[in-house]
Symmetry: C2
Subunit: 888 residues, 2 copies
């Protein structure tokens, strides 16, 4: 531990600096830095985090010398300000704040006005000639101190103020007069005594030390410990304590307070932007009781202060090399900066600021890439409700924000009608209690989906995210009758307009204007920079230069959309979704209920040309890029009709009796379908299905290649758990493929690969055996997570919330890859697979492929690509570039 | 490759010996060995496996010199016998057989009488003065040669013989006269020509080389390759070819043939035991047309031959040091031995022979332990149908042999009635379409269980095996009405007797006498030897000496039974089964449907004394030994009532409305219950359940310890997937346990442990984190297999058969541990766990704990114990001892 415990800042010079965050905490280091670069910061001092460490190592005592150092530094503050702590005639008041190296809710926050007592308050009233101000400050101080230092419940104080207001028939706190405040101070002191058993401390030094103790004590309270556990914060020494002189914006008409940004936080334009209020405290600006004024007014009314503020703004932005969010106070005509930090901004602003700053030579491209978070980028890539319209429309209800973006259209209650209305050119929102695989056509035709039940992993949510259509699920207050829905007291019928916002979960009545995303201007430049860095990325665990972003797309339309967003191939094309469309579903069902192999083959023969057409469309859309097609994966019972009508339709279509269809359905039903007869198990038991699919893929590839386009089909076998499964199915696939290529004489033009998903833990564990038969591995992390964690996505809703509050899984493992468990299995598989085939192509096609921390994992682990839904492609490009930068 | 290709045996001297199996195959090495020790074996020679290897390495050609060596060895055989190959006046006939180092169905088996042709057959008739014999031999030769060498279908020959018999109105082949046989030979040659396009070869040398080619060719036919794949047979050079002179037991009245055992194969008693027929061929003894005579008759009728045979028997047993199964032929008064091998025997005989041979100083105890297979031991430990009774009773039908042992009793069709009849002292067999968890009480009360549906992993099968009660499942021809069942045309009603044999799957009408197992005599001695070796076992990957066998037992009765069988503790006591009994089920259900935590706690309070009683009983039964108790594991919906009556009962008992109960039931239902809200997830979300269970365990332990008995409770948390889960639940368990121990002042007397199951793949992958919070790991390999393979036991019936024929999983992975996949995960977990806690106790409690190859894996991997159902305990003791011997 250093010999120095306390670090002074004030009058243009500080003991600390920005780089000393570990020792002074974020806030302390920042106050020191601002002081050093000549920003007028109210003077004060920081007690270092090492003192906190010492405090806990020594039974909550302090090192010798600390008291003296605090004393000396307090004296320095007094000298700078020419005030005296505890002197009623010229009192110094201070704030006390905690501040660790990492910002951490759960610790003690702030005590203001410390140093007030019965005498000082009178003095303050005299000096400021503002008795009300003085007593109000004292009242607030007792409340804050009592609550923060001694844990007196807020309600105990609030009761008193409410009782008084009621008695006096006041509406607002500001109605309280001087006498009222004096009485309240009495009451508050009584509350303090009752709750703590002690009188409210009158000695300012005692107040200060009690506050310091409280800050250090808060470092290890339950909330703070839990917060660090959940967020994996380790290795910190403790918190620092910042003691800073108070300045006031409410000293009169030459005082004021405000907030400003060095650029416009919603557009990113380089204009000085802010609001302020004269004779006010910071909280008045926030509370919205008075309407703040624009900085332009300040420029007119007080050009000197404005100019000083503008210079400071420029200085801060140049110094911190980012857009700043600045809090200032004017005390009797003198400007003080209380805080500066990198400003929060919209996605659009983040991109513009980053690109502009590179062009201003303030930052480099590598840095610019880290100035936009993937979440910010995500905002830009979905339709948004026009903020102008939003102001006049309050949401009817809020559900879960299952798939981002806004959508507006006519309400429709069945998937079939959604399709037929959409065909007529109408924009519809599909509203259902919940969706099922049979609704997929309707979901695809709709602008958006709203369900009244289901969670973030419900069918509607998963499918909508996959399709990139906005979706709000679990909107519990939506009650659906046959052709109408009620929200609260409002009733909506088929054809009425609603608007949903899948980014927030809000549901609005009526149609609203939307803003559509586009890639141009700064955004285009920005994404090109990310690609440049991504494509040059090198890693120690693979020879390949660069890292690819593919997309999960099941239709030509999705493929085209993803290509516009920058997708470099398809990483997962799910063939089963194709079977849910129109006549294909009937033939597919006929195949399932077939009573012998001949009738099964007959039905498959009908499907063959239809599948071919599907694949041709996709190959064309992805011309020149690889297209990874997964053979049939879900269990057959997902396709079997359930309703009487559908069963009867199938019976008359297939010639199999309704009773037999029902028997077949019950035979196919499973206890744990996730672990049942699906994936390559279907391929092994019904080889004719995969044969048909492979024939369709290769024939379609030949057709497209014949027109001169380049095609790179990758045939993917799902749910492999043993090398022998893949061996059998790969041999079969090659046999079928070669016979097509021979027939078409296109061996040279069409090069295909056959590989496997790694989604069963056993496949990862035996990856060296499986690699022998695979041209590529694609990690199916949805299933791999389900099996490795033994947790069904559909069923975890009942315990996941508790698991998150108990910090068992702090993140939803289906949203963000569980790197410790599932990740270690993936790393094992990569290592084992490449031990047999150096350079074996590896990628991810689970939903994690669009999640930035998971993308970073994929990058670091040596994979060659990620694949994600079309709307996530730009996010993945950014996330991968950020990984490339941080791994440089 | 050696310079020598062919190895001669004959006249007391052979080129080969027993140790040369790799080179000569098992059969060839054995013929050489017998010759060398002076046994009269018909002379012949063996072409080595290296020739087979050369054959495949060189495009199916032979090395230079082979032909000459075969020629020379054939000459040696001719000289020894003074006969000549192909000479009609004094013909040598030979057999040709394949024989690899490992016995392997799928390869070519045997051709007899090779060397016969149109002239030789006439000569043979002359010399033997038995024309019928000669032509019958020729006919058989053409058939065998055509089928085995040229692949002519058996039916093509059989059609001819059937047509002739029909025409002549013969019943038996033996009715065929000399002319008939001559005609048949003509027909057979025509068949051969038609099917092969070539005339039947007349040159004996050509015949010989065609046969040799066929043997080598059969090494790589599809069947043989598949057999080696399925059985993991690798590293063999190929097959050898054995050419041996023919001897005949049907040359007349001084000839004969027989089979004998050096000890009684059904009891193991040391008596010379066998059967023979004069003037007969080996197949006549087998075919059962004539009744064979006992060896005692031979002793009387031909004392010289008998004495010679007895001497040979003694010599062979002494040489091979095991009970021998010997085939002999007497040709014109001369004794020849054709084969000797270790004799197949019953379980009882295996134990007796092994123990006797140690006492005779023929073998050592270590060897004796390997002389009894676990399967043989298993036979002894279940009630068997008395073989006397079996002879007069043919089975009505056969189902799947789900749980071994025989049971006899009155048919009963519901679990409730099974319980009430059993209470009245009646022995019942529970007959159901299928069973469900609610039937557990009835299953326990029954002698055995018969179901008409379900497979080896159905509920009935799994539970019955766990309980050790005989069970036949999937007996499809059993059709069950309300209170009767029909098998074929026979109808049985409630109270009628049936008998089931769970070892074979047979179902008999009526009651039958059973033989009950007991441990005494040689069996006791034998098991003591296994224990001696097991308890001294050392392994390189653990410091612990010895290997423990525990049992899975949920009741005091099971615990007592297992202790008699040698269990050294309980490895898994499933608490959920306790809740299915009587009033406990009602309280448990009340707890589930409770609408708030208070009513839940109230119901749990009722359960507490009942659980305590359960645990007291188990602790007493296992006094002095560890008892591992798993806290509640299955999802709550398994307990929720389904029938209207049960729902109404619960409604009136709990005061919760029937509608709410139904709603609760549907809320609790899950898509994939295996991966749902169960195991420790219940403990995290409903901590009061585990609290109650821990309180019951520790209180019961105190009660029993107070009486002076030693108790070692182990509290096991199921389904842990993350260290934090275990941390939370362990802390909770310790808190509850300590408070009980403090209250009872028994901290010193009751030492308990808290550990976890490793059954979720993630737990294995993060075992080093989990070990920090665990006193032990118990591998739950049932669930671990389900999750690692992504395969639900309940659902795999639809594809497992295909998976087995396709050699994807050659063994049912739920019966025998998948060592490659699941095993590697277990090894990882052991290594990671012990890296943090050296010597951390590890065991297995899945059903694999009773499977010998899996036990061997557990032993080698460094576990401390296995745990299995009571009836498997002796098998596990033996299997572990065998592992100890082979790892010495």
């Amino acid at each position: 531990m250093a010999q120095k415990f306390v670090y002074f800042f004030g009058r243009g010079k500080a003991d600390g600096k920005s780089a000393m965050k570990d020792l002074l905490g974020g806030k302390g280091a920042n106050l020191a830095e601002m002081t050093n670069i000549g920003i007028p910061v109210p003077p004060g001092f920081t007690i270092s985090t090492e003192v906190c460490e010492w405090f806990y190592d020594h039974d909550k005592t302090y090192p010798t010398g600390l008291e003296e150092e605090v004393e000396n530094n307090l004296k320095k503050v007094e000298e700078v300000l020419n005030k005296e702590f505890g002197n009623p005639d010229n009192p110094l008041l201070v704030s006390v704040r905690s501040g660790a190296a990492v910002s951490m809710p759960g610790m003690m926050d702030t005590i203001l006005n410390l140093g007030l007592n019965e005498e000082v308050v009178e003095g303050l009233a005299r000096i400021t000639e503002n008795e009300r101000f003085a007593w109000d400050a004292y009242r607030r101080f007792i409340h804050m101190f009592g609550n923060v230092v001694k844990g007196v419940p807020n309600e105990s104080f609030e009761e008193k103020i409410e009782a008084l207001k009621k008695k006096k028939k006041y509406d607002l706190d500001t109605d309280l007069g001087i006498e009222d405040l004096k009485n309240l101070v009495k009451d508050y002191k009584a509350v303090y005594k009752k709750e703590t058993g002690q009188a409210f401390p009158q000695d300012p030094k005692k107040q200060l030390w009690m506050a310091i103790n409280a800050v250090f004590g808060s470092w290890n309270n339950t909330k703070a410990i839990k917060y660090r556990k959940i967020n994996d914060i380790e290795g910190l020494k403790g918190t620092a304590v910042n003691v800073q002189s108070m300045v006031y914006g409410n000293f009169g008409d030459t005082s004021g307070t405000g907030v400003c940004f060095s650029r416009d936080p919603s557009t990113g334009k380089k204009i000085f932007f802010g609001e302020y209020l004269m004779n006010a405290q910071g909280e008045d600006v926030v509370a919205g009781i008075r309407t703040p004024m624009k900085l332009t007014t300040l420029k007119k009314k007080n050009p000197k202060i404005y100019q000083q503020l503008e210079e400071i703004k420029d200085k801060l932005e140049a110094h911190y090399r980012d857009m700043q969010d600045i809090e200032f106070t004017i005390q009797e005509g003198e400007l003080f900066l209380l805080q500066t930090r990198n400003g929060k901004r919209t996605g659009a602003a983040a991109v513009k600021v980053a690109v502009d700053m590179v062009q201003e030579k303030l930052i480099k491209e590598d840095e610019a890439i880290n100035r936009v978070t993937p979440d910010q980028l995500d905002q830009i890539f979905h339709p948004m409700i026009d903020p102008k319209g939003k102001k006049n429309n309050t949401p009817l209800t809020r559900g879960l924000n299952a798939s981002p973006g806004a959508a507006t259209g006519m309400i429709i209650f069945t998937a079939d009608e959604a399709e037929s209305w959409a065909e007529k050119g109408k924009k519809v929102i599909l509203v259902r209690k919940e969706t099922s695989p049979e609704d997929i056509g309707g979901m695809h035709a709709a602008q958006g989906v709203l369900t009244s039940t289901g969670g973030m992993t419900s069918h509607a949510a998963v499918v909508a995210r996959g399709m990139g259509i906005p979706c709000v699920v679990g909107a519990k207050s939506v009650s659906i009758a046959s052709k109408s829905m009620t929200i609260g007291k409002k009733k909506y019928k088929e054809g009425d307009y609603i608007t949903i916002d899948g980014t927030t979960g809000d549901v609005y009545g009526g149609g609203m204007d939307l803003i559509q995303p586009k890639i141009s201007g700064e955004l285009k430049t920005f994404l090109e920079w990310t690609d440049k860095i991504r494509k040059k990325a090198k890693r120690s665990n693979t020879d390949q230069v660069g890292f690819i972003v593919r997309t999960n797309a099941d239709t030509p339309a999705d493929a085209k959309k993803a290509r516009v967003f920058g997708a470099e191939g398809i990483g997962l094309c799910r063939t089963e979704h194709m079977f849910f469309e129109g006549e294909k579903l009937l033939y597919f069902r006929q195949m399932i209920v077939a009573e012998d192999i001949e009738s099964r083959k007959k039905a498959l023969k009908k499907l063959l040309p239809l599948q071919k057409k599907d694949f041709r469309g996709i190959f064309k859309a992805m011309e020149g890029l690889p297209v990874n097609i997964r053979l049939l994966d879900p269990p057959l019972h997902e396709f079997v009709p359930k309703s009487k009508k559908e069963i009867d339709d199938l019976a008359s279509f297939s010639g199999v009796s309704a009773n037999k269809i029902k028997t077949k359905a019950s035979e196919l039903s499973e206890q744990n379908p996730m672990l049942g007869h699906r994936g390559c198990r279907l391929g092994v038991t019904y080889p004719e299905i995969y044969d048909m699919q492979v024939e369709a893929i290769i024939t379609a590839a030949c057709d497209v290649a014949k027109s001169g386009a380049k095609v790179f089909p990758e045939i993917m076998i799902p749910l492999v758990g043993s090398a022998r499964e893949l061996e059998i199915l790969r041999d079969k696939a090659i046999e079928v493929a070669e016979s097509v290529l021979d027939r078409r004489k296109m061996r040279k033009q069409v090069k295909y690969q056959v590989g496997t998903m790694i989604e069963v833990p056993r496949a990862a564990l035996t990856a060296e055996e499986i690699a022998e038969h695979a041209d590529f591995f694609s990690f199916g992390t949805n299933d791999l997570t389900q099996m490795t964690l033994g947790m069904s996505r559909d069923d975890m809703g009942s315990f996941l919330p508790t698991y998150q509050t108990e910090a068992i899984y702090s993140k939803d493992p289906f949203a963000e890859l569980d790197q410790t468990g599932v990740g270690s299995l993936i790393e094992l598989a990569i290592e084992k697979g490449r031990s047999v085939k150096n350079g074996l192509k590896m990628g991810i096609c689970g939903e994690h492929g669009g999640n930035p921390p998971s993308i970073d994992f994929c990058f670091r682990s040596g994979m060659n690509y990620v694949s994600c839904s079309p709307y996530r492609v730009p996010i993945a490009r950014l996330a991968a570039a950020q990984s490339a930068v941080s791994n440089k």
